[in-house]
Symmetry: C2
Subunit: 268 residues, 2 copies
């Protein structure tokens, strides 16, 4: 299906793919790397793929992806396993990866769709957690995720992998601070709810549940430090996810799953 | 606070700790390794610690842990950073680890406490996911987690780390199959609810919500394959966690967070 290109050309393209491990290169080129069959499938169907790398083994395993790629205006590189390993970020490469253009999103764009559910992550750092929260937000039907300045780049390969393709299904706004996000989304009619283990009100309290039917922007903090006090104070409401057993805390993705699905439940 | 022991003694004890990376050794000795300050803190307070390893740096960082250890009948080993690195399973060792006796749990013991919420994991393999589900189950107030035969060992260091100490707060039953678990917990009054993306009924359906107030054992499948059809058929009910946006699926920990917290909400 694919034609093997001259080694020098292939080598240059693999170098480009590999360089996308660096944030500065992603920002300069406006592209990012999506590894693995599920990610590549979503990228081809819903994203803007520029280049596709496939090993011979992957061409046999995922013929549907090669078919999709024919319909897309992208270059396809037929590479050997050892060459693919050079661009791969994983221990067990699956033989397929795409370079895609970064989807563009802005607070103004999000506000324009009259959103009812948004997740704001304040200085979230752990790539696996952030990718999982993006996937949860998309599943819960949120219209956007906002990652404030100081957060991990959502186009980091580890984040992308953890989203399992969801990065192509929900707008992700970056490069804004919390105050600006709260202002724009507040003007669009969303209430901001901070999640904090110290909050006096708890999710599932009867008076809280009814409020979740309203348009809501949930605000989640850093995995280790939680939310800055000032952010909690600036939100319309602060809530704790109740802990019924003997554990210190919940992780970010668990809190996001419980909160975003609680809103989804009340809003439908 | 601690006395440095002869190098040969220390070396033998570090060898014991290191060997606990192997399941066979954990089973033979009935002990497991708990790394990091939070895990060690919970182990000292709620577990049965036999030996504690601390670097000089960790003694200074976590003086409270040394105090707790004095009150426990355990041997304390003062080890150098490079020696500690040998027993550590992590890339950035935090200088403190405990060998603890494995808590014992059985289906009969769980049934005896008249449980209202239990999580059954059928052939779950991913250590991080399983550890996170144990932490979620403890937080949601479940009385036990059952890991059926063919699942990852919950005392695997990666699972233990992902529980962030919760492994000491909730009984974890292993070495039983699904049929036996369903029989014993069914006799104890619990309904079994299978989670399946293909189920016709969905969590949040009005008629489903009321049922969640009853004693429930949630049944979750393998991360990649889901539940075997026969297990779904043998459960009292099968439910899908609704997906409101465009994603293929939810991961195991997300599904567990939404389901277990939905029960907790209805039961309180």
């Amino acid at each position: 299906v694919t034609q093997r290109r001259p080694a020098t050309e292939t080598s240059a393209s693999v170098g480009r793919a590999r360089a996308l491990a660096r944030r500065s290169v992603r920002e300069k080129t406006g592209t990012f790397l999506v590894e693995g069959p599920q990610g590549a499938r979503e990228a081809l169907a819903f994203g803007d793929v520029v280049e596709l790398f496939v090993t011979t083994g992957a061409q046999e395993r995922y013929p549907d992806l090669l078919d999709s790629a024919q319909d897309v205006d992208c270059r396809i590189w037929d590479v050997d396993d050892d060459v693919f390993a050079q661009l791969s970020d994983t221990v067990t490469p699956q033989g397929i990866a795409a370079i895609a253009r970064k989807p563009v999103a802005s607070l103004a764009g999000v506000a324009a769709v009259e959103p009812t559910l948004v997740a704001i992550l304040v200085e979230a750092q752990d790539p696996g957690n952030v990718g999982t929260v993006i996937r949860i937000a998309a599943a819960a039907g949120a219209q956007a995720v906002v990652l404030t300045t100081g957060s991990v780049d959502p186009f980091n390969p580890k984040v992308v992998r953890s989203t399992v393709g969801a990065i192509f299904h929900i707008p992700i706004v970056t490069g804004v601070d919390f105050a600006e996000s709260a202002e724009v989304l507040g003007a669009a009619g969303l209430k901001t709810i901070a999640t904090s283990g110290y909050a006096a009100s708890r999710l599932f309290d009867a008076e809280v549940e009814a409020m979740l039917a309203d348009p809501t922007a949930w605000v989640f903090g850093n995995e280790a430090r939680g939310l800055p006090e000032q952010v909690v104070a600036d939100c319309d409401l602060a809530l704790a996810v109740p802990i019924f057993g003997t554990v210190e805390s919940l992780n970010l993705a668990t809190a996001a799953a419980v909160c975003l699905y609680s809103s989804a439940r009340q809003q439908r």
